[in-house]
Symmetry: C2
Subunit: 342 residues, 2 copies
DNA sequence: TTGTATGCGTTATCAA
DNA sequence: TTGATAACGCATACAA
């Protein structure tokens, strides 16, 4: 019932078999070839291959005070937005000899804190985090240990970490202008809870601002829904539909997750898009192309956000100061059938 | 331009401040409280809290020959099927003090081999892998080092690793019976390349077998499409439509990815589901509910597959022999509008 | 060009 | 109940 753990081949075995000292092998591993005689080098090379030796990264890390591990803490691993970013970050990691330690917090601040502690114990060389935005004690600690941190998507005002995201204000403004051109009587904004999540707040603020600036009749139609609670979205949706009876209307979804739930709810109500209700949402999930005559979306360069985050970490690891406090990519409005020819 | 790396607090610091030896602190860390005087224990506890000390997992791992790291190699991190499994595996990891090292191979055997080598260097305590199925040299090596491996979804005949997946044959058979009841003139099977991927082969085989068993006129309509090549799917689709002109027809999609591409293609062709063509697919992506009157799908217990995989790893780590060579969960046919009332 | 000795932070063995 | 010491696998300062 015990784990037997057979002894793995070590640098010592290689040294022994190659007839050199551990130091020389270590030099080879470090790529300091100028300090090694060509024949010795060849001998070590062959020995390593024949023994199938792999240097122990933990031992190396203990000595060098690095782990070659990058922590990636995400709020929702099921969200395609998240995986797209992971994909980008992972590619850059791989190109630079790092590996991603992925943690899924389910938007739970407590889990987030626990995970960050675990990652610290692993002595991660950097952290990319899509934070819950609440209760960021552990996150603050990282600054004290000066391990490189990059926030993705969501900012935390009280923390001075670099953040990478999109131009939410501009993206929403563009999209809203598109909606306003169509002269809807009512435009609603459906979002997950705003508390703590900067992205949602920025989008909601831009939404409201555009409506006011255009003297639009509806301004109060911001609905916060709790997707973990069955029926919450449907209730708010029915409320809005009742409120706007007989009026032309559109809904702006704060992200791809809310967007999908809205589409499903509308389908259950047998409402047609865009005839009964126009629909537009942040993120550009693949299925947006497949629903009806397509859903109008705001596409973020998710992969690039992921690569940029990891590249920023690399810069910090190298000791280069990065000056940009907030890097925002521009998003792109993709107009499809869900907001046109109604 | 150098990484400054300030010294972290170590067990030595704790011992010093608490006025005990490293050994005693180590005992505390190991939870051997019976060997410690209550007052000493309290003192250590307080010291650790005040210093915010976190034991270095690398150092511990070097000594204990463990890393608390589980490798997770996936073929396509963008696939919701994959993330659902990761979610399950990650939950079990977290409950047991392990962390997931996630690697995305993009279905590239070479990347898979490289990643496995990296993971070996990290001395992972176990590996969960959704393999490309080809060129599994590195995978074979792991057996030699006897690190626990569990294959997910795809089997590899030449390897003796435990595998966890679904009852593909039965699931396809059930679904096919549902289609056959509707008396379609033609039923086609759209899949990504079969080579090396056991799951696809099993599903295609079951598809064919049911058709033959029922003396169904169409049997040769198995189309392998290459999703990375623009237009490949559309070409095959047009070919099938041409072949089956004037006949009633259905398409069986091998997985959620192909299913989505089919929906998009059909929408581009302005074909209506299920009037012009019925559609059914493996996996049950969330959007399946949102397209038309819903897409009929075969739902896999993905989360459970993930947890089962990780639990199997844990058993192996504990040294328990696991006897089941192949564990298959049952899938569930969810009938929706895409295959009914045409 | 190569080797010896030391230490990274932790656990384990042994002794007190 | 506690502590001194060695060892895990590797990299590095210093010698040769």
């Amino acid at each position: 019932m015990e784990k037997p753990q057979l002894p793995r081949v070590t640098i010592k075995d290689v040294a022994l078999k190659a007839g050199v000292s551990k130091t020389t092998v270590s030099r080879y591993l470090g790529g300091n070839y100028k300090e090694i005689a060509p024949k010795t080098r060849k001998r070590i090379e062959d020995t390593i291959a024949s023994l199938n030796y792999r240097p122990n990264i933990m031992a190396r890390g203990l000595k060098r005070n690095t782990s070659n591990l990058i922590g990636m803490v995400v709020a929702d691993i099921s969200n395609p937005y998240t995986t797209a970013i992971m994909r980008g970050a992972e590619d850059i990691c791989n190109q630079n000899g790092y590996n991603l330690l992925v943690c899924n917090t389910d938007n739970d601040p407590e889990k987030e804190n626990d995970y960050i502690s675990m990652l610290q114990a692993h002595r991660i060389d950097g952290l990319i985090i899509n934070t819950t935005g609440r209760n960021n004690e552990a996150l603050k600690d990282l600054a004290h240990d000066d391990i490189p941190v990059v926030l993705v998507d969501r900012k935390v005002p009280s923390l001075e970490y670099d953040t990478i995201g999109v131009e939410n204000h501009r993206a929403v403004t563009d999209a809203m202008h598109h909606l306003i051109e169509q002269n809807f009587d009512r435009i609603a904004f459906f979002t997950e809870p705003l508390a703590g999540v900067s992205t949602r707040k920025e989008r909601a603020a831009a939404f409201e601002q555009v409506l006011r600036a255009n003297g639009h009749p509806s301004c109060q139609d911001i609905y916060e829904v709790d997707l973990s609670s069955e029926g919450s979205l449907m209730d708010k949706l029915l409320f809005f539909l009742e409120e706007s009876k007989g009026q032309t209307k559109a809904i702006f979804a704060v992200n791809g997750v809310v967007l999908l739930q809205l589409v499903i709810a509308l389908q259950q109500l047998n409402l047609s898009i865009p005839k009964d209700l126009a629909l537009l949402g942040f993120d550009n999930p693949e299925w947006a192309l497949a629903v009806g005559s397509g859903i109008t979306t705001i596409e973020q360069p998710t992969y690039e956000i992921g690569t940029a985050a990891m590249e920023s970490i690399l810069q910090k690891i190298k000791g280069n100061k990065t000056f940009s406090q907030y890097t925002s990519f521009s998003a792109r409005l993709i107009i499809r059938g869900s907001t046109t020819n109604n």
